[in-house]
């Protein structure tokens, strides 16, 4: 009998081995399927050197949208901390599969007389009920682990979305700085003309001062947008966990133009239901609680199930609890209050799932609408406003050639053109941000459902920016 019990205990313990990669592989797969980016964590916590090497290779030849996200997935400091939840959760799971260690009662009686002999008592006490609870506990812990994998994957997608938006923001701000440099050039030309006119005796100090002031204002505006650009870069660096030399990357690609075709996204609400991992985690949580209620009811006459909760305090993530099970004997307390509490918690989880679903669907609908609207706006700029501005520029040059207008008016037209290109940049930025938002709101998209980033150069760039200088402070 004693041998049988011992074998059983061994069997229960033997499957309880910690696997470093467990959870990370599933997470990597979930993330790659949803945003086509690799986490770099699929084998569990990488060494610092491994991370550095990966970041270095991803920064090679300038930063791209995809690489920025992959850097964030491996190097974002907060996300790295979150990944460790998988280790904790797995440990919990393994722990749940272990019987309580036998209590070794060891007492040493000191002999009171020479005639007495050393008495030694050695007893193995195994709590009987623990054996009954073990399979249940294992099942719950496994579910909890899967839930944690979903939750951490969701966190990774959130970070990826933030990073995507920050990257687009940097691309846009870089263009804004470039255009503002040309604006300064334009005011500089006007000021140069004014100075030449003043030197020739053709204008007074009043008019000259107006032109010089306008130049200074344009320079101040440039320095303001340069600061915004620096801030945007720093924001992205923080998300990417980059500092020092690594933080001095250059963008490999300018802000992309519109994709030739808009990916067809239909039935967003169903996509949200199927795709979002926070929804999946909340569902699993709700199911766990339901199971908890059943267990408590089943076992109320034998003892009590204590559903210990570990609460995650991440403000963006779902509130999740993981049960731990212990039992005691229902001698005084038959657990009616406890069951009522569990039932209330289960209903609460139900409501929270519903609230989350409503919010997620709403986000997805808004994001989809934004992609359509911003695409239309960007197309208007691309197809109508910018060509019209180019035409106006050409026509104003014709007028100039006929001496119908002067250089000041040419420059005014140029400035209007530059304003329009700034508005176009904003329209493109809003479009690409909306695409990232949509991916996020849907809980990811398959590669074929993602917008195809065109490889063509920015159309307005060739026309309006041919003479600007690249390079950043």
């Amino acid at each position: 009998m004693k041998n049988v019990l011992f074998l059983f205990l061994l069997a229960a313990a033997s499957c309880a081995v910690i696997d470093k990669a467990k959870g990370h592989a599933e997470l990597a797969q979930a993330v790659e399927a949803r945003i086509q980016a690799k986490t770099g964590w699929h084998e569990g916590t990488p060494e610092k050197e491994q991370i550095d090497a990966r970041v270095k290779s991803l920064l090679e030849g300038g930063l791209t949208f995809k690489n920025a996200i992959e850097i964030a997935l491996v190097n974002n400091a907060a996300l790295q901390a979150t990944y460790e939840d998988l280790g904790i959760s797995q440990a919990d799971m393994v722990q749940a599969g272990l019987l309580k260690n036998p209590v070794l009662g060891f007492s040493l009686g000191l002999p009171l007389s020479r005639a007495g002999h050393l008495e030694m008592e050695f007893s193995v006490v195994q709590e009987f009920l623990d054996l009954f609870m073990l399979p249940l506990r294992k099942r719950v812990a496994k579910e909890q682990f899967l839930l944690d994998v979903q939750r951490v994957s969701h966190e990774a997608l959130e970070v990826a979305a933030e990073c995507g938006k920050a990257f687009i923001d940097v691309q846009a701000k870089e263009r804004v700085v470039e255009v503002h440099r040309v604006v300064v050039q334009s005011y500089d030309v006007a000021a140069t003309l004014a100075q030449a006119q003043k030197k020739a005796g053709n204008i007074d100090d009043y008019t000259l001062t107006q032109h010089l002031n306008a130049l200074v204002k344009a320079q101040v505006e440039l320095s303001r947008v340069e600061l915004e650009w620096v801030e945007a870069r720093e924001g992205l660096n923080l998300l990417l966990g980059l500092e020092g030399e690594q933080a001095r990357w250059q963008l490999k690609e300018p802000l992309p133009v519109l994709p030739a075709e808009e990916p067809q996204v239909t039935n967003v609400e169903a996509l949200v239901d199927q795709g979002r991992l926070d929804v999946a985690a909340a569902r699993k949580h709700q199911a766990l609680l339901l199971q908890g209620v059943d267990l408590a009811k089943t076992w109320r006459w034998f003892g009590t199930i204590e559903l210990g909760a570990h609460l995650h305090q991440d403000p963006n993530g779902p509130e999740l609890v993981g049960p731990t099970l212990t039992l005691d004997l229902p001698i005084f307390d038959q657990r009616q209050a406890f069951i009522a509490r569990l039932e209330a918690e289960q209903r609460q989880a139900d409501r929270r799932l519903n609230a989350l679903l409503q919010k997620a669907r709403s986000e997805a609908r808004v994001a989809l609408a934004k992609t359509k609207h911003t695409r239309e706006v960007a197309m208007k700029y691309r197809d109508v406003v910018l060509p019209a501005q180019d035409a106006l520029n050409a026509l104003s040059l014709r007028k100039y050639n006929s001496m119908l207008i002067g250089l000041y008016e040419l420059l005014e037209n140029k400035n209007h053109q530059l304003e329009a290109s700034l508005e176009y940049v904003e329209a493109l930025r809003a479009y690409w941000v909306a695409q990232v938002e949509l991916t996020r709101a849907l809980g990811g998209r398959r590669a074929e459902a993602q917008p195809k980033v065109p490889l063509l150069p920015e159309p307005s760039k060739t026309k309006t920016q041919e003479h600007e200088h690249h390079g950043h402070p």
Binding site: V182, Q185, S186, D188, V189, T192, L193, A196, Q197, K199, A200, G201, N202, I203, N393, A394, L395, L397, R398, K399, Y400, N401, S402, M403, L404, I405, G406, L407, Y408, L410, L411, K414, E466, H467
Partner: protein, 433 residues
């Protein structure tokens, strides 16, 4: 001895031939077609009343019992101010300005006016002594002629001289659009005989470059100044055989400007106004005659000096074409630093005007607005002619075979300003710094 008789005015050229040769008759919806007034071909016989209208036409007429019958059709006309510049104007009988009405003192004229405009109109016989109800002032002396209607004006010509006709209904718009013309009445018994008798109507317009219609709302900033509806180099030269006695009748129906018209190489006598002949004792010689708006002035001179002589308004802005008047003053501006900065920003830009407008003539390869003309663009014999607008050339020659443009004047040796040689400068003690 020719007398200013009806048949003489028609000069034996059958109307059918004239229409066939010009094609004008096809264009006009008028019962009577316009007659080209600039003689061509062989030198015509000298006549006191072969009125010539450079770039213009005479209004044909027919004799009926008791009256000479004319027909004016007011209508929209696609008018060319000069090659490269057209606009939708309002005119008469397919022309801007309307054809010159030519008649003889004592004639009874019956003038039908058909309105094919989208607006009501009238015709006022400017300077003519007519019964009040024939004066053509919309609302005051008659009902205005509605679109599609034809009115009849009939009166006896009690005077002779250079008169005009124009719309007198919504004048500001309709005259700015071109509804004007000359009305020449020859004396029954001419006192002064001439060999050549030209009629020129002065006008001003606002045609924004790149547009196709005059802007009648303009009050001051006119950019197109014309003689018989043409701006130089669109104006036809006045080709004259040396020794001919020349009369030029100048009328002015500009909206807001008077024009001092100046002749080169000659002086003239101002012989008539729109009030008639100035008594001999009141005439004086000059080279510039001010033609106020709403007035006519007639000058006479003997063309006794061979050459190509400008005949133009002396207001300098009136000899420019379609210039922008709000451009920055670039005179004396040093262009190099400016160009270095501006050219990269504005491809195709080049600083201009730092030494004036003369260089504009050399910039004809640059793209300009459609339907517009350069400020100054005519190529002359020696160089670009830096003139435009209210400008034409009187070409005086000996031994002309016809009155067609004889080309540029060949200056006899020693009569052309040329580069001063070092020897010449030394001879005359001229030191050039």
């Amino acid at each position: 001895m020719a007398t200013p008789d009806d048949d003489e005015v028609k000069k034996g050229v059958s109307r059918r031939e004239v229409i066939a040769s010009t094609g004008v008759g096809m264009l006009s919806a008028s019962l009577l077609s316009t007659v080209p007034a600039v003689a061509s071909g062989a030198l015509p016989e000298r006549s006191a009343h072969s009125l010539e209208v450079p770039n213009g036409a005479l209004l044909p007429w027919k004799k009926t019992a008791g009256a000479k019958v004319f027909h004016l059709v007011a209508e929209e006309v696609e008018h060319e101010f000069m090659p490269g510049l057209k606009a939708k104007c309002w005119g008469y009988n397919g022309r801007v300005h309307g054809p010159v009405i030519e008649a003889v003192e004592g004639d009874r004229v019956r003038i039908y006016v058909t309105n094919k405009l989208p607006a009501a109109t009238t015709v006022h016989w400017h300077g003519a002594i007519v019964p009040n109800g024939m004066d053509g002032v919309g609302g005051l002396t008659q009902k205005s002629i509605l679109p599609g209607e034809t009115y009849r004006y009939e009166f006896e010509l009690k005077q002779h001289g250079t008169l005009m006709y124009h719309s007198h209904h919504d004048e500001m718009t309709q005259m700015a659009m071109g509804l004007t013309g000359l009305f020449v009445i020859h004396p029954r018994a001419p006192q002064s005989r001439v060999d050549r008798d030209f009629a020129l109507l002065l006008h001003e317009w606002k045609v924004v470059p790149g547009t196709e219609r005059p802007d009648p709302n303009e009050m001051t900033d006119f950019n197109l100044l014309t003689m018989n509806g043409k701006a130089f180099p669109g104006t036809a030269p006045l080709v004259i055989e040396r020794g001919q006695k020349v009369r030029i009748r100048l009328g002015n129906l500009s909206a807001m400007d008077h024009h001092p018209i100046h002749i080169h190489g000659h002086r003239f006598w101002v012989t008539q106004t729109d009030g008639g002949v100035i008594p001999q004792s009141g005439q004086w010689p000059e080279s510039t005659v001010l033609v106020p708006t709403g007035s006519t002035r007639t000058i006479e001179f003997v063309a006794d000096n061979d050459g190509d002589w400008p005949f133009h308004c002396h207001m300098t802005h009136h000899v420019m074409n379609q210039m922008g008047h709000g451009i920055p003053n670039m005179m004396g501006v040093e262009p190099h630093g400016l160009d270095a900065k501006a050219m990269p920003l504005l491809p195709g830009y080049m600083t201009m005007g730092q030494a004036g407008m003369g260089e504009m003539a050399h910039m004809q390869n640059m793209p300009v607005p459609p339907n517009s003309v350069s400020i100054v663009m005519a190529k002359g014999k020696h160089d670009f002619i830096t003139m435009g607008g209210m400008f034409t050339v009187i070409k005086v020659r000996q031994g002309l075979k016809s009155y067609e443009d004889p080309g540029w004047y060949e200056n006899p040796k020693g009569t052309l300003a040329t580069y001063a040689t070092e020897a010449e400068l030394q001879r005359d003690g001229i030191k050039v710094g």
